[in-house]
C-alpha cells in the first residue's frame, strides 16, 4: 500500500524505513549475514534478563498500592523518566544540528512541518522503544506472577516517552531562545548528561550523608521520606498506580503525556525549520583575541600531538558532557571519602573499585577518540615521525587526562589511608592501560563524530573493555581488603585482556 507523497503518513514511512535500516546496520555492523547471530544473541539475552528480573522483582508481584510501594515504584519511574528526558534531549539536539538531510527537506516544496511533526513523534517513539526492551523482562515476570494488571506498565512507558520528549523539546527550544543556537548544542548536551545522572547521584549522596552507604533503597524506604510523601490517594502517585494496573490512573497519565507531546509538536513543528537553519549557522566559533593562545612554541612532535589531542578533547561539547557525566558519578565516592575520613577503612574499600572502574571506562572512550577517531589520519601518517611514536604520544595524552582527573582523589585518599590510595593508584593505572591497549589493538579508522557509534565497529572491543574494567575494579576491591585474594580476579581480568589481544586484528597483522 502506498501513501500520498508529502503527507504525514508518507513521511512516517520514510522515517521508519531509515530508522529500521539504521538499527539493523548498528546491530549487524553493516553485515546482513550477521543478522541470524544477532537474533540468537538477543534471544539469549532476553531469556537471561527474565531470570535476572525474576530474581530481582519476582517477590513483588503481589504488591499493593501502599505508601511504601508507591514510593519505591515512583522513584524507579522518576529515575527512568529522567534518563528518558536525557535521551530525548540528545535526540532533539541531534535533530536540530545534524544536517544529513535537512538541506534536501528544507529546499523541497513540501509542507515541512508535517515531516518535523513526524520526526518529533519518532523521537518520542524511539525514547519509549529504548526503554521497553530493558523494562520488558521485569514487566513480563510481574505479569506472569502477579496477573494482567501489570501490563499497564507498558502503557506507562509509552506515556513516559511522550512526556519526556515533550519536555526535552521544550527545554531545547527554551535554550535556543535564551542562549542562542551556538551555545545550545553544548549546554543541551551537558544538561542531558546532568539530568541523566542527577537523580541517581542525588540519592546516593543523600544515602551516604544519612547512612554511610551507596544504597538508594535505604533512603527511599526511610521513615522520614515515607512521612513526607503525599497521601496514597494523591495525583502524585498516578504513574505508580498506572504501573500497578489502575486503569483510570493509566488513562490519566497517558492523556496528560500525549497532550504534552501534542502541544510540543503543534508549537515547535512549524518553526523547526527556522531552528535548524539557525543551528546550521552556529558551526563557526571565534576565539576572542584576548584568549588567543600563543600557537607557535618550541615543541617536539610528541608534545605537538599530545597538545592537539588535549585541545580537541577540551573543545568537544559531546566529550565535555561525557566527561562531566563520569565526573558526576565520582561525586558519591568523593562524598563517601569525605564522610569516611574519621570512620576507618570500610568506606575506602567501597571507593577503590568505583575509582578503578571509572578510570577504565573513561580511558576506553578517550583512547578510542585519540587512536581511532583521528580526523586527519593522512596528515599524521605523512608526518616525519615513526608510527610507534605517534601511538605513544596519543597514549600519553589519554593517560595524562586520566591522571589529571583521578590524581586529586587519590591524593586525598592517601592522606586518609595510604594503603587504599596505593591500591587505587595501581588499579587506575592498570585499568586505564588495559582499556587503552584494547582500543589500540582494535583500532579502526574513524572520525571523532562517530564516537557515539564506536561500539558498533567492534563489539569484541566493547565487551573486552567493559569486562576488563570490571575485573580490575573487582581485583582492586579485593586487594583493598586482602592483597593475596586479589590474585584471582586480577588473573581473570588479565585473561580478558590477553583474550582480547589474541582475537584482535592487530595480532593477525603483526
Amino acid at each position: 500500500m502506498t501513501s500520498q507523497p508529502g503527507t504525514a503518513v508518507w513521511f512516517a514511512r520514510h522515517e521508519s524505513r531509515l530508522a529500521w535500516r539504521d538499527w539493523l546496520a548498528m546491530m549487524t555492523a553493516g553485515r546482513r549475514r550477521r543478522l541470524s547471530r544477532v537474533v540468537i544473541a538477543i534471544a539469549v539475552f532476553v531469556i537471561f534478563m527474565h531470570f535476572v528480573a525474576y530474581w530481582m522483582v519476582g517477590r513483588y508481584a503481589d504488591a499493593t498500592a501502599d505508601k511504601a510501594t508507591l514510593v519505591a515504584i515512583s522513584a524507579t519511574v522518576l529515575l527512568s523518566w529522567l534518563l528518558m528526558i536525557s535521551q530525548a534531549m540528545e535526540s532533539t539536539t541531534r535533530a536540530f544540528y545534524s544536517r544529513s538531510d535537512l538541506d534536501l527537506i528544507l529546499a523541497s516544496p513540501v509542507a515541512v512541518e508535517k515531516l518535523f511533526a513526524v520526526r518529533i513523534g519518532t523521537v518520542a517513539l524511539a525514547t519509549a522503544m529504548m526503554a521497553i526492551p530493558l523494562a520488558a523482562p521485569f514487566i513480563n515476570v510481574l505479569v506472569a506472577l502477579g496477573g494482567w494488571r501489570w501490563l499497564g506498565a507498558y502503557g506507562l512507558i509509552v506515556a513516559m516517552g511522550a512526556a519526556a520528549t515533550g519536555l526535552a523539546i521544550g527545554l531545547t527550544v527554551a535554550l535556543f531562545s535564551f542562549i542562542g543556537p551556538k551555545r545550545t548544542r553544548l549546554v543541551a548536551q551537558v544538561v542531558a548528561a546532568v539530568i541523566g545522572a542527577a537523580f541517581v547521584i542525588g540519592l546516593q549522596v543523600a544515602a551516604i550523608l544519612s547512612y554511610g552507604t551507596l544504597s538508594r533503597v535505604s533512603v527511599l524506604q526511610s521513615e522520614a521520606v515515607l512521612a513526607l510523601a503525599p497521601d496514597a490517594g494523591s495525583i502524585f502517585w498516578w504513574p505508580a498506580r498506572a504501573a500497578l494496573g489502575d486503569g483510570m490512573a493509566l488513562v490519566g497519565v497517558l492523556a496528560l503525556s500525549l497532550a504534552l507531546l501534542a502541544a510540543a509538536i503543534a508549537i515547535v513543528s512549524p518553526r523547526f525549520g527556522e531552528y535548524a537553519v539557525a543551528a546550521s549557522g552556529a558551526g563557526s566559533s571565534c576565539v576572542s583575541p584576548a584568549r588567543r593562545p600563543a600557537a607557535f612554541r618550541a615543541t617536539s612532535p610528541r608534545r605537538a600531538l599530545r597538545g592537539k589531542e588535549w585541545t580537541l578533547l577540551r573543545r568537544d561539547p559531546w566529550l565535555v558532557s561525557q566527561a562531566l557525566m563520569q565526573m558526576l558519578y565520582l561525586i558519591p565516592p568523593a562524598v563517601l571519602l569525605w564522610r569516611g575520613f574519621d570512620d576507618g577503612h570500610g568506606a575506602y574499600q567501597l571507593l577503590v573499585p568505583v575509582l578503578v572502574m571509572a578510570a577504565g571506562q573513561l580511558a576506553g572512550g578517550l583512547a578510542w577518540l585519540a587512536i581511532s577517531g583521528e580526523d586527519a589520519p593522512d596528515l599524521v601518517a605523512s608526518a616525519p615521525v615513526p608510527p610507534s611514536f605517534i601511538v605513544r604520544a596519543k597514549i600519553e595524552a589519554v593517560l595524562g587526562v586520566i591522571a589529571m582527573i583521578f590524581a586529586p582523589l587519590v591524593v586525598v585518599l592517601a592522606i586518609a589511608s595510604p594503603w587504599h590510595a596505593l591500591v587505587a593508584s595501581c588499579g587506575i593505572v592498570i585499568a586505564a592501560a588495559a582499556a587503552t591497549s584494547i582500543q589500540l589493538w582494535f583500532r579502526s579508522q574513524a572520525t571523532r563524530s562517530q564516537f557515539r557509534r564506536r561500539h558498533v565497529s567492534s563489539r569484541m572491543a566493547t565487551f573486552a573493555e567493559a569486562f576488563s574494567s570490571i575485573g580490575w575494579a573487582a581485583a582492586a576491591a579485593v586487594a583493598a581488603a586482602d592483597l593475596w585474594l586479589a590474585i584471582a580476579p586480577a588473573l581473570l581480568a588479565l585473561t580478558v585482556v590477553t583474550g582480547a589481544w589474541f582475537m584482535s586484528p592487530r595480532r593477525h597483522d603483526a
Binding site: R292, A295, L305, S382, A383, P384
Partner: protein, 259 residues
Amino acid sequence: MKHAMPPAQFALEIHGLVKRFDRPAVDGLDLNVRSGEFYALLGPNGAGKTTTLRLIVGLLRPDAGTIRVAKIDALADPVEAKRVMAWISDEPMIYDKLTPQEYLAFVAGLWGIDPAIAERRAAELLDWLDLVAHAHERCEGFSKGMRQKVALAGALIHEPRLIILDEPLTGLDAGSARQVKSVLRERVRAGGTVIMTTHILEVAERMADRIGVIAQGKLIAEGTLEELRLKAGKVTGVADSASLEDTFLALVAEQSAAA
C-alpha cells in the same frame, strides 16, 4: 609550457611499483619526476593514480618496487622521506576544533620547524591564501575551499621539496582554485616539485611541465603536451593541434583496446 628540462636530479624515482588489492591497482609502474618540475598525473577513474600517490607518501606499503624521494629510499627510511614531502588529498582532512593558526602550529610541531620560522611562514601563507581574517576561527564552519586552503597552508609550512596533491581543485570556486594554482606555481618557481592528479585537463595543460597518463596501474604515456600529441597522433591519428582532452582520451582508448 616548458620543453626540454635541464638535466637535474630527480625529486622522485619509482621503479617496478606494484600494489594489489583485489586486483592490481598499480602494476609495475616506473616514474621519474625531476626536481623543480610540475608534473600532472592523469588517468581515468580507477587507473591507480591515488594509490600511486599514497604509496609515495607512505600511507600504503607496496607489494614490490622501489621509491626514492630526493635520493632517499622512502621504503627503507620513510621518516626521512616524509620530512621533505607534503601530501594533500582531495578531501581536506583538518581538525574542526582547531583554528587555522593552531593547525599550522600543530603541523609545524610535527615537522619540527623552529617556532619563529613557522610563525613567520604561517603569517605569509595565511596572507597569501586570504585566510588572515579567519586565522583565529575554528575550522568547523569553513567551506570546502577554505578547508582546502588551510590544508595547503599546512602542507607548505615546512617548505617541502616535493608536494603531492590528489585532485586539489575539486569543489573549489574559481577564486580559490586560482589562489591554489598560484601558490603551487610559486613553489615550483622557488625550486620545489609538484606532482598533482587532476581531472581538470585545462589545469594540467596550462600548469604542468610534463604530463603522465596512467591506466590500469601502468604509465602509458609521458611527456610534454606536444610529446603526448605526437604519440597519440602516431598511434591513433589525433591531429597535432588536438587539445589535451582529445589526446588523453585517444591514449586511454588505445590502452583499453590493447588490453
